[in-house]
């Protein structure tokens, strides 16, 4: 009898707790799309706007809603590969319309010519430029994402983009990429006839 009551009591307790948690799960649900966070983590966070969105997170939201993954020049092919892996889409080469992939650069202010107008500070999306009105400005190299948004506002054109040298720390192995649409791509000979039939079917 006491065994039965023990089982029943624990069962009742577990049911009540389950109901509480279930209620809480519905009542305190947080609406957020985890995929947007994951995509946002893969983007380079330059906030440069070259993709046509006002920043990396809006672009991440757009990708989650089905936009193309090849509009991010600062990220380049590495980012497109990572996005393709995450989303299970095919790799597409960078869309040239949004800019070419360039070597990573940082802004450099020629300090003799700087008049201290603070216009570049306002343009910088990551607060990497230091300075005050009528005083010389300078760029914090570690913070600069190389988005070159500060170049245009400068009235005396004293900002230039300096390429960062590749060091052993940021060098990575270039994965060979094959464009499957290109009939000249013949890395593996047996792939070619299969691709050809695929194309025929598509046509």
């Amino acid at each position: 009898m006491s065994v039965l009551s023990a089982i029943l009591i624990l069962l009742a307790l577990a049911l009540v707790f389950g109901a509480v948690l279930g209620f809480a799960a519905i009542h305190f649900r947080v609406e957020e799309d985890p995929i947007v966070d994951q995509i946002d983590n893969l983007l380079p966070q330059t906030q440069c706007g070259q993709c046509g969105h006002p920043g990396c997170r809006p672009y991440a939201e757009a990708i989650a809603n089905g936009e193309a993954i090849n509009k991010c020049p600062p990220g380049g092919e590495t980012t497109i590969h990572a996005l393709a892996d995450l989303l299970g889409r095919d790799f597409v080469p960078l869309d040239a319309e949004h800019g070419e992939e360039q070597a990573k650069t940082v802004a450099y202010i020629r300090e003799d010519e700087c008049i201290g107008c603070t216009k570049c500070i306002q343009a910088c999306p990551v607060d990497a430029i230091l300075g005050a009105a009528k005083l010389m400005h300078t760029v914090i190299v570690d913070e600069c994402t190389g988005c070159d948004l500060c170049v245009e506002p400068c009235p005396v054109d004293c900002i230039e983009m300096v390429p960062l040298e590749k060091t052993a720390k940021d060098w990575y192995w270039q994965i060979p990429v094959v464009d499957m649409q290109d009939p000249q791509a013949d890395i593996i000979a047996t792939d070619r006839p299969k691709n050809a039939t695929d194309k025929d079917e598509a046509a």
Binding site: A6, F17, L21
Partner: protein, 193 residues
């Protein structure tokens, strides 16, 4: 009223859960690296500890005692604590995303904080009533928070100090904890009981 002040003083200083009774040592060592996370952890633990102390008292008194199921208290308390922690996590996530991000993984870890179960069991051992349990749990949480924040602050200092190489990292942390424990032993006899 003095009774409750005594309970608070006793749990915060004299019978501090971490440094005198050696309960809840894992978060004490694990989360004390940064002052900010230590504060977050203290807040979450305070909330959970107080609530679970009261809830386990209620469950024990009004559910287990009438059915003579006192021997089920440990497993029941674990259930109560787990639910409390889960509930807290949901509420915090909804109410304060910032705090949720600060607490991160530590919130679920409160479930395995032995101080939480310890408080629930000690409440029974001491025959605490409802209000007593509330103060006992709250005091234990305050004591835990106090010690955790003190310890995190001193560890931040120690990181900047010139520690001999064999003592770097956790070793000097352990020594600091031991010294703090010695200091807290000095409160013995401050409060009757």
């Amino acid at each position: 009223m003095t009774e409750y002040i005594f309970i608070l003083l006793s749990t915060i200083l004299v019978n501090n859960f971490v440094l005198v009774q050696f309960l809840g040592l894992c978060p004490f060592m694990g989360v004390s690296g940064k002052l900010e996370t230590a504060m977050g952890m203290s807040l979450a633990t305070t909330f959970v500890l107080t609530l679970s102390s009261v809830c386990s008292y209620l469950v024990y008194t009004y559910l287990l005692t009438p059915f003579e199921l006192a021997y089920l208290k440990t497993i029941t308390f674990i259930l109560v604590i787990a639910v409390m922690v889960q509930f807290t996590e949901m509420v915090v996530r909804k109410v304060s995303p910032v705090l949720y991000r600060v607490l991160g993984i530590f919130l679920p870890l409160i479930t395995t904080n032995c101080a939480v179960l310890g408080v629930a069991l000690l409440n029974l051992k001491k025959d605490n009533g409802f209000i007593d349990s509330l103060f006992y749990g709250f005091g234990a949480a305050l004591g835990f928070s106090l010690v955790l924040i003190l310890f995190a602050a001193s560890r931040e200092r120690i990181n900047a100090a010139d520690v001999p190489r064999p003592f770097k990292g956790s070793a000097i942390g352990m020594i600091t904890a031991g010294l703090m424990s010695l200091a807290f032993m000095g409160f013995t006899g401050l409060v009757p009981n």
